[in-house]
Amino acid sequence: MSMTKEMALKHLKDPAVFCCRRQKGLKISEADLEDPDIFDDMIDSGLLTLSDDGLTVEEVLGSTLTTDVEALTPITKDVLDKVNEVSAPEPETPAPEAPAAPAPAPAAPAPVPFSSFSGKDNVMHIHIGSADHIEDLSFEIPIGPGMPPAPGMPIPTAPGETFVPAPGAPKKAEKKVIRTLIKKHIKITDAEIGTETTIKDGKITIDEGIIEKALKADPLCKSLKLDVIHPNERHIYTDTIMDICPIATKVEGVLGEGVTKVADGVVFMLTGVDEDGVQVHEFGSSEGFLDEKMYFGHPGCADENDIIIRCHAVIASKSGMTRPGPFAAHKCEDVIIQAVRDQLKTYEGEVVREEKCEDLRREGNPRVVLVKEIMGQGAMHDNVICPTEPCGVFGGQKNVDCGNVPIMLTPNQVRDGSIHALTCIGPATKEMTRHYIREPLVEGLAEDEELDLIGVIFVGSPQVNDEKMWVSERLGSLLESLDIDGCIITTEGFGNNHIDFIQHIGQAGKRGIPVVGVSFCAYQGQLVVGNKYATAMVEENMDAGGFENNIAGCSCVTKEVAARAIQMLKNKMSGVEVKPAEKKWNNDIINANNKLLGLKETVLVESGTLH
């Protein structure tokens, strides 16, 4: 597609490339030249190769062509009668802004003998009927939100695209509390393995004899070993970290309401190998020195000063990469944690923090949901939903057994440990059990006084493509029926689950629901599929090379990720532009967003990973 005068002025110093085949004798005008804003896409898709001898737009305007030239050919001096003299380029002023967005369409289409474009559906469709070595080729470039539509291009008017407060809406929405959950964080100062299970004066003691009882929970679990790792003892070898699980228990009510006690300053860490010594390893293994293999302080991880009670499981030979094997380890660990929970119920220790969580409506505010795609593919890719005890296993239903269908939980239920993660796919990008009980997006959305968080939908990622589509359709219907004004969709891991992730974004997008996607992508996890609705996306990566770096909990939803996602959603709901992404992962963009929101910088971990 050709350029307008306005566009040409913007691109005077950019390469001059014919948009279509042009014949000898033509006096070159801007209408003959391709828009440099789409060169990146053309280069990526192999349509265009720029030349070192290529001239710039200002060098060729007004010159006459001395030979026929094919479309998408950089213009060089040997095909022109003259080259305009131009003054030396001025020193570039530092541009705080990222590269310009894909270009708006021209005011008047130039004669295009075998090319065409259209801008329907906010996507630029370019079609080339034929040219040398190119036959009948079409490609599509999403046009970012807020881009001026091309002439004749329908302006998106999907319902819900922009949130408009109801006339006469109060300045601040009325808060209506549905239920309250109190989380009492009880101070724990030490832990040891002993001969009876107690909590006294801030110290947890676990009876070693409980191991025998725990092993009876599942025959696939062959042995268990407990030890305590204090914060100053972390340079210690660990087998792969399967999970980090808080010790939390109900003392009043059921999940999501009443009172829960959470042990503060201590967590369980489940590690595992099979009888042949093979790590129950997921997509990459975090075995190694503990101080190097966990991102302490991230939501799913142990905090800087936490005592870690390590529960090491040995499961049946070759059961590590099947569904029952890892589950057996989680189940047996839960028996041990339950013994501690039972002590915590009656232990009257120091309450270091009392957290008040509310399920509420803020009528009049934009209605939003958080969709969390979780794994549902067997092996270690499962999750237990709504166990009896917070973060427990017993009493819960497995996501795979539920058919991976979307399940709605209240924000309080999530914050009360409704998900026990049997997680997989990469130590850095999986969400462990502790992640969910303090999920930054759930907390951020629930506490945001400008929004009305309707609920949190968990949707599994099946391993069959047809089922991915089926599950996603169900999610779409659910989103529609909730009559929401916006949603944020996250996924743990990367790869095949990105199919469903993008599909989910499409389900919201095609219904005109503003949507923000959140995932680890970066370099190794770059999206394998895409669609035109994935225009406001937040990156979780914290590895310098953009890899799954085998550091547990490194690249996941953090407070900063959550803040960026929530702000992007507000922008989208208000019709404020989120600029299109660059063509490649670039941490500077993430930090520019952080800076705009006054968030701390995303500092990448130099793991040296290069698979």
Partner: protein
């Protein structure tokens, strides 16, 4: 109430576009073709070094007379139990020998190449591993290349290597459990049986299904009219984990 907005934010994740077409028309009958089967599903000989499950752009050489009992899987991205039962579920080497014996295809390449495409380094596969495998197959006179994916990013790696083979002048088809990835990443031809990742070439020990998937994928190499077309195969298997 009105929402706080912040001007100047930028989306942080790039959404891919399908790369340029690459297509080599098959110009001889299947019965005269030399066929190679490659896989991104992490198959290797038990005697070989296992793949690094969090990403590995190396490949293994599998001689055509390798018994299927000598093969195993190292892959962290899906449930391995089907391949543990029958490696032909990902790498149908027994079915290929049967198709040669039946005269459906001419011959098999003396050696083929397997890799673990999960989390695969795109540049490495595109610029090193892919071209190297393609050259080695071409040097053996291979006409047709079939490839199974594995997990999601495996399908990406599988497609990258398959594209390299197509560019080298062989006619290729990705047998995809996740066809949207093969399509978006620009596989020259795609067949899509209704199978879970981990049994991309059909149900373990279901010889008729595996044979049909391989045969119809070969026929799609012959019949596919143009670049990046999908043929859905009518075979369904559910792995009830």
């Amino acid at each position: 109430m009105s929402l706080t907005v912040v001007e100047g934010m930028q989306s942080e994740i790039f959404v891919p576009i399908t790369p340029e077409p690459v297509f080599t028309e098959l110009k001889k009958p299947l019965s005269e073709c030399k066929v190679a089967f490659i896989t991104a599903g992490g198959i290797h000989k038990k005697s070989q070094v296992p793949f690094n499950t969090s990403g590995d752009f190396s490949y293994r050489v599998i001689e055509k007379d390798t018994p299927s009992s000598e093969l195993m899987v190292t892959h962290g991205g899906f449930d391995n139990s089907d391949i543990n039962k029958d490696v032909n579920a990902m790498f149908p080497i027994d079915r290929l020998h049967e198709l040669v014996d039946a005269g459906f295809i001419g011959s098999l390449a003396d050696e083929t190449y397997t890799f673990m495409g999960g989390g695969g380094n795109v540049e490495k596969f595109r610029n090193e591993t892919g071209p190297e495998i393609a050259k080695k197959l071409k040097a053996q006179g291979v006409d047709v290349v079939l490839c199974t994916g594995g997990c999601g990013t495996c399908h990406r790696s599988a497609t990258i290597v398959t594209r390299c083979c197509e560019k080298e002048g062989m006619s290729c088809c990705v047998i995809a459990a996740l066809p949207p990835i093969a399509k978006q990443q620009g596989a020259p031809r795609i067949t899509a049986p209704h199978v879970p990742i981990g049994s991309n070439a059909g149900e373990p020990n279901n010889i008729p299904m595996q044979t049909a998937i391989v045969k119809e994928s070969l026929e799609w190499v012959r019949d596919c009219p143009s670049y990046n077309q999908i043929k859905v195969l009518p075979y369904e298997y559910r792995h009830n984990v």
